[in-house]
Amino acid sequence: MAPTLSLHRFLRRLAVALMVFSAGSAASAQENSGPIEGDVVGGISNPSSIAIPDFPTPADVGTPAGNTAEIGRQVAQVIEADLRNSGFFNPVARNLLRRVTMPQVTSPDYPAWSQVGAQHLVQGYVQNGGNGRLTIGCYLYDVFAQSSLDRAGYEVDYADWRRAAHRCADMVYARLTGEGAYFDSRVVYVAESGPKNNRTRRIAVMDTDGANHRFLTNGQSIVLTPRYAPDGQSIVYMSYLNDEPRVYFYDLASGRQRTLVDSQYMTFAPRYSPDSRYVVFSMAVNGNTDIYRVPVSGGRPERLTNTPGIDTGGSYSPDGSRIVFESDRSGSQQLYVMNADGSNQRRISFGGGSFATPEWSPRGNLIAYTQVGGGFRIGVMRPDGSGSRLLTNSWQDEAPSWAPNGRVIHFFRTPRGDGLPSLYSVDVTGRMERRLPTPVGASDPSWSPLND
């Protein structure tokens, strides 16, 4: 059910001839059009002011997704929420925003936007195409420099208008922060309801902002640890169907599923290889848990670890050459890295407490983990184990999952006692901690790749 979205970049830049400034102004415009001020690496101390007025429409036409004028209002709000939630932007209050006419979309009233304090301006339009689809234009301007920074157009099915809004927000975010895009993505997770001693768990998927939510399983069996395939086409998860806890492969397009491997023993803790062709998983045999990998297409599992104890939580490096995992072979849970064939296993975590649930960043530069000691906290370290730092501080924060851009982390937070867990996101600097909206309790988030 991969939604189709065709993207055609409009002219990326207007001709330099548009410049009406002196050479001096042009130089300062150059500065202002670079990545936003504020300490991108160290934190988000100074969010940039940005105005996202409602997107006008050349003709207000009814569509299955609503009138184009109404869609234009909602597109602006989706973009605003994405940008605000990133922590890099401080959107101008909507009651201060002016109405934008179609001609102004490509020719902004810069002085007026400067007056409301906007450093940057996102404008656009929504047009009903003759082909039964929507065209949504997206334009980014530097208000201070009075210059166009970027633009894009998206032609989408009516049902996918939110995706166009996310793509627009992604364009703005990437252009102004220098970071990779991530708003146009999904999350698979475990929806939890009911008391702790009789909890119903269902696999669910939703857009990263909580929209387009749907359940994939019905709650009859305990389900745990879903993972989105890096190609976005499938998930793997663990189910207690028939009281036999096993890893299942679920094809998202067809809804068809099957056990990943036939096993008389419990299989769990699955994760895909970066090319989506393999799954690394754990199998517990007579009190001893080791890590295996198996082609998604089937075949014989290959054993990668062979020590007494619990080896689990395998996660591939983005180039597929290495796997980080947790093992209690030293007496407590610690993080280890090995080659993808199981060779050269070496410990990388040496701090206080124990370390669990590692996930290698899609950028390759960091490994996120759960630090266990008293409570659980989310942390990151370099793949050689250096530079470890904690990002959260709560009773139980568990199971980090990276955004496609390697900049933001999802995890789940469990309260003391009988309360339901919730999904949270946190920036890799430890700032911008934020709860994700879900219909019921939620755990085990796994971030999809950027939608294509």
Partner: protein
Amino acid sequence: MTMARLPKTAILVAAGSALALGACSRDAPEELPPAPIGSNDNGMNDGMNDGGIVPGSRADFVQQAGTDTVYFETDSHDLDPESRAILDAQARWLVANPGVRVTIEGHCDERGTREYNLALGERRANSAKNYLAARGVDASRMTVISYGKERPVALGSDPASWAQNRRAVTVVPL
């Protein structure tokens, strides 16, 4: 003999096991499960019949063995002397009732991560199973299953609750 004499844990386990009996076909997880095998109309057959305990039943097992549950220290799967004594009694009953197959559930408290606790619960269940096997119970009669920290009996986040949740439960079918 009344219900009140059964340990609380046994009742909770009974309820949990009934819910867990989702006997669907392996490749169709969305189907609703049929009624649990061996259950009577009200689903409450706990082995008591006309005020007496049916030999070979779950109630018989719990009464004869004293308890269906053994407990563990934090992050441990070692059996202490008390647990071994309980398992000795369980083994005597199982040897005396050779037709009964059991499931041994391993459980953990909430202070471990989810995946690690799945493995730890499996270790605990196997500790109990291996001990029972050493006391003469045929290993082929025993199935282990780990629920990690997903099925606590005590809901608190305190040492007393955690102690109750670190357990292996020998479940005789209803």
